[in-house]
């Protein structure tokens, strides 16, 4: 007899497009509530984001010079966080009708004053570094990223 094993991340992604019969099996296995938890409620830490996306843990980036390693580690974390909150959907950067939302941070000259100040969106322009990997599909997700993950974003911006 063969057995099918499925982890939580795969179950959640398959559930969206599953037939009613498969949905029932998944709900019996994981519980109906499991599939009703919104992404903003289930992604509260970097570990949650890694689980959500199935991405491996942060590489050590020993391929880059030592003084750049923390910057690349922080960038990887933010990419995974954005991917998790966007539920693994990628942007079409050339699609003018698709707005890309970003958290904006206030640094105010000190680490202690750092924090989210506003979220903004763009559609036909993009500035250096603000690629599709670091944008959010809506203001709500950008705000969650800016508040829950401000330390990761601060590292990426300042290191």
């Amino acid at each position: 007899m063969k057995q099918l094993q499925i982890d939580e991340q795969k179950a959640r992604s398959r559930y969206k497009t599953a037939s009613p019969e498969i949905k029932e099996i998944l709900e019996d296995t994981f519980g109906k509530e499991f599939f009703n938890v919104s992404v903003e409620d289930r992604v509260n830490s970097l570990e949650d984001a890694l689980n959500e996306t199935g991405r491996p843990s942060v590489p050590d980036f020993d391929c880059v010079p030592e003084d750049l390693r923390n910057f690349f580690k922080a960038t990887y974390k933010c990419v995974v966080i954005a991917e998790a909150l966007n539920e693994s959907k990628r942007f079409d950067l050339y699609n003018e009708s698709e707005y890309r939302h970003y958290p904006y941070f206030r640094n105010n000259g000190s680490a202690s004053a750092f924090g989210l100040c506003v979220t903004v969106y763009v559609f036909t322009v993009s500035h250096a570094g603000s690629g599709s990997r670091l944008a959010f599909f809506d203001s709500k997700r950008a705000k969650i990223a800016g508040e829950k993950f401000k330390n990761e974003f601060r590292d990426m911006l300042s290191l």
Partner: protein
């Protein structure tokens, strides 16, 4: 909510023969940037395959920015220091520089000190001379 975003969108064409930043005459290719900074070429084989292009492009952009900034890294916590970055028109047929803007007290995701320039002229040059590098960062 009070935001102190200070974009400077200058629509006037600037014609200048003398570049303030002498590096703009020296750094014309990614290889020039590697040579000027002494940074090594790297292989991002330790990141997931679909993220390789993004990280390679980001690394190249960091090296180019460092070379053009004469290895000066903008002080992200220094309010009085303007940090310039290019803005791009996102069009499949005409990806390229839209303008250069600066910020002081705010910064958005991805626009950290490693990717910002010390002046407007440098930001504009970076975007036009290294458009493929930036395209990789935006789309990779």
């Amino acid at each position: 909510m009070n935001s102190e975003i200070c974009y400077h969108f200058n629509n006037q064409l600037k014609i200048t023969n003398m570049k303030k930043n002498q590096n703009l005459d020296k750094i014309k290719t990614v290889e020039d940037a590697f040579q000027a900074t002494g940074r090594p070429q790297v292989d991002f084989s330790n990141v997931p395959e679909d993220l390789k292009e993004f990280f390679e492009s980001t690394y190249n952009a960091v090296v180019v920015t460092e070379a053009l900034n004469d290895s000066k890294k903008p002080d992200w916590d220094n309010w009085s220091e303007r940090k310039w970055r290019p803005w791009f028109n996102m069009s499949a047929s005409a990806f390229g520089l839209g303008d250069a803007g600066y910020v002081r007290t705010c910064s958005t995701a991805g626009s950290g000190s490693r990717l910002q320039n010390i002046d407007e002229e440098t930001a504009e040059y970076s975007a036009t001379q290294f458009v493929d590098v930036w395209k990789g960062v935006q789309l990779g």
